[in-house]
């Protein structure tokens, strides 16, 4: 049983972790919607320091409105960005207008 399903509204956390993380700064704090569950993968934060026995983590694809990511009215309202986010970087949020 995964924590999120396609269609769920989520916010990307800003965990402030040091070292090798795969959640770029531009997507932290942003709210979007899960489009797809991708399965479980070894955590790159563990792999980067040679730990290959860490717990596998759930990975999701999450969609965001480009207009919400970048303050620019010239961006067409329907344009979207989809990025992969590991479970521990996500929290559930109530429905938001700022999600595709």
């Amino acid at each position: 049983m995964t924590r999120f399903s396609a269609g769920d509204h989520v916010q990307v956390l800003a965990l402030g972790k040091e070292g090798h993380v795969r959640i770029p700064h531009y997507i932290r704090h942003q709210t979007g919607r899960v489009t797809e569950y991708c399965g479980t993968y070894l955590n790159p934060e563990d792999l980067a320091v040679g730990n290959t026995s860490g717990r596998a983590v759930d990975l999701y694809r999450v969609a965001f409105l480009q207009r919400q990511l970048w303050p620019d009215d010239a961006i067409p309202a329907q344009d979207t960005l989809i990025i992969e986010i590991y479970d521990h970087w996500l929290r559930s949020v109530k429905e938001t207008e700022n999600a595709p």
Binding site: P24, Y41, A63, W70, I75, D79, I82, E84
Partner: protein, 207 residues
């Protein structure tokens, strides 16, 4: 200019030029020289490994797309499980998952990797140098329509643009729209019409 601040307060510095990491190249050259000198490696083994890395390429991507255009059941398998469908064509896929995203009359897909240079290498080989450049990585998410225009693609405002940042474990291929007269062509003719840029999404129309 005095250098009186600690680098720890910044994000990690990446030492590279647009083509690659020069410092790493020097270290690798020295390491290879030592390993060959000690008889642990031969120059032939190194070139064979490079040849293996470079043997995938656009021809495999074009084969996948032409098959999808001409075989609807293959296309639906490709869109639901890219890795398994690609392997049907005897292409050894080493990536965990391949996600194939389909362009339509109303939708255009663009692939990028903002953090490094993730790319479906076991299918398409090594990415073009611009794909690895900091400029493409930053601008493909921040102002993708301008980037497309610089590639000669003026995407209509009413076509939805979806940018896929392949920041983690998935790898992506764009399935372009077939030419409107697709049935007029043989498979091999279709394959020659497909470019690497179509499969990344910086080009759109085929034929």
């Amino acid at each position: 200019m005095p250098h009186d601040h600690q680098h720890g307060e910044h994000e990690a510095l990446i030492i590279e030029d647009e083509a690659g990491n020069i410092e790493a190249q020097i270290i690798i050259d020295a390491l290879q020289q030592v390993l060959i000198g000690k008889g642990l490696l031969t120059a032939h083994e190194v070139t064979a490994a490079i040849a293996k890395l470079e043997s995938p390429g656009l021809h495999l991507g074009a084969k996948i797309v032409a098959k999808a255009w001409t075989d609807p059941t293959f296309k639906s398998r490709l869109l639901s499980d890219g890795r398994t469908a690609v392997q049907e064509l005897d292409i050894p896929v080493t990536e965990a998952r391949i996600i194939v995203v389909e362009n339509t009359a109303q939708l255009h897909n663009l692939i990028t990797c903002t953090l490094c240079s993730c790319y479906p290498r076991s299918i398409l080989g090594q990415p073009p140098s611009w794909y690895i450049s900091k400029a493409y990585r930053a601008r493909s998410v921040r102002e993708p329509r301008q980037v497309l225009a610089e590639f000669g693609l003026d995407l209509m405002q009413d076509i939805k643009l979806v940018v896929h940042d392949s920041n983690a474990d998935m790898r992506y291929l764009v399935l372009p729209e077939p030419p409107h007269d697709v049935e007029r062509y043989t498979i091999s003719e279709l394959e020659t019409m497909i470019s690497r840029d179509h499969l990344i999404g910086v080009a759109r129309g085929v034929g």
